[in-house]
Symmetry: C2
Subunit: 298 residues, 2 copies
């Protein structure tokens, strides 16, 4: 009997990470390449997976905005995206043309959120929900509640929530092309350079900009806390170093004033458990299995 | 054969509304009384329902914070609440002592949200989720997604999200005892009087305070929109007059900048469909039926 093989596609705006996992969701092969044109990039994806005798199901976690509404005519598409050339691309359709197997289609952050949800649940069965916020070039959020993703009609665009402006940051207009100073406009990675002419990676942790950004991200954590009470809020992406996460906890404490009991803050606001940016790959493998299960139940 | 009778308890901090409905969820009897002490108030509830030969199930939508976690030892309790005398009251336990029938226990806003969800779905089958924000003495939110309430570990406390302060309102500190200028601290009914010494009901609609509050409420609608993309956001409670709702739509348009397509704003941001503050009673009847169904499936 052949072993089961799962395919993972973590489709980012900068790079694609493709991986193959065994029936225990262990990575047995992996590759990555830059995101160029849709034709070229998807051809590389397909060529990569065709190397294997068989792939039994895929989990695909894509940048977007994407269409996740199964009743929609553009389900499985990357829809209007700021990423040049990638608007209105039938990503899932292209995969289905080449592989006649179950596929789970979701957002990039949801893939990571799902991986972290499964991992957290392994360590603590009482976990019912997690939120995953990624802070890098943009800000995204994925949430899993009782095994299901939050957001039925479309993907959340949580980066665009409103925030209370920090008193020392009022002169900064924010960089979101749509909203100026929404969360993404004041707390994403590129806002360091927009404020100070220096990238985040070159900004020492004692610089007050880190505290200002932590003030905004703590508000995002509060919003999620009072909206659906996740058991954990995981902070990923380039901005979320351990030092930064500590600052977010400190701001959360000040701003939330112990209004609800969220337990230990070290456990509540955390870095991803899965090492080496592997959350999405692991999540995709489990979602591939979920796609098989859902097909059986149909 | 006896007809099915459902009991509804809409337990508010100011008054209790109790009602009995038939198998089609029509109100056949109703009463209301002020919320005094727990002993006195719950005795009146029990006495009212004992008048009927039988009540087959209850839907109970209570003020809180309440414990809705079925795995918790204090499930069914009103927990620490600012309402004097009502902290740590085993509301559901008291009901179960007197009526040995299925009961659905949820928050006051969830009861209304569920009623509006069922009603909206009757008119438009494609509806998958609604959010209900109530703005009165406090601010609460309930959401239904695919028939389930949002918030597994506890009730949402959405009134305490952070908001961007309005430029003409920066001197107002807000009235939330925990957070000062969270949403509830700057947009609940009593903030009119706190700002101007005049109650909201006596404040003419041309007063800029209405626009300031609409600016904050529009941010709440945006937060929900980008968090889970409900099909409808219903605005209830004393503050939400038709004129005010029109102002919220206008502020939403300005602030959201058409970032996502939410369809017609008149349909997206609306008053409750169910007349005479009947959303919670209707919702409770349907939840009572749901409690029967869930018991059968256990």
């Amino acid at each position: 009997m052949m072993i089961m093989l799962y395919g993972s596609i973590e489709a980012g705006g900068t790079k694609f990470v493709c991986a193959v996992g065994d029936e225990n969701f262990n990575v047995i092969d992996q590759t990555q390449f830059p995101t160029t044109t849709p034709d070229e990039t998807l051809a590389r994806v397909i060529k990569y997976f065709k190397k294997f005798d068989h792939i039994d199901a895929f989990g695909i976690a894509s940048f977007g905005p994407i269409d996740v509404d199964k009743d929609s005519e553009t389900y499985g598409w990357i829809i209007k995206t700021p990423k040049k050339g990638w608007s209105n691309i039938d990503f899932l359709g292209k995969m289905k043309e080449n592989f006649d197997v179950p596929m789970y289609w979701t957002t990039d952050v949801n893939g990571s959120a799902y991986g972290e949800y499964i991992s957290a649940k392994k360590n603590d069965e009482s976990i019912k929900s997690v939120a995953y916020i990624t802070i890098g070039t943009g800000i995204g959020m994925g949430a899993v509640i009782n095994g299901e993703f939050l957001g039925v009609e479309g993907t959340p665009e949580f980066g665009h929530i409103k925030v209370k402006r920090h008193r020392d940051d009022l002169d900064f207009k924010g960089i979101c092309p749509w909203h100026g100073d929404c969360l993404e406009g004041v707390a994403s990675g590129p806002t360091f350079e927009a404020r100070n002419g220096v990238k985040g990676i070159d900004t020492p942790i004692v610089d007050p900009t880190w505290d200002i950004i932590a003030y905004y991200v703590a508000q995002a954590v509060i919003d999620l806390t009072v909206t659906f009470r996740p058991n954990k809020v995981i902070l990923g992406g380039g901005v979320c170093t351990p030092d930064f996460i500590a600052k977010v906890r400190a701001q959360f404490t000040l701003l939330f004033n112990n209004y609800l009991n969220v337990g230990s803050l070290e456990k509540y606001i955390t870095a991803p458990e899965i090492a080496h940016n592997g959350s999405a790959t692991f999540g995709d493998f489990v979602l591939a299995q979920k796609a098989i299960d859902e097909q059986k139940n149909d």
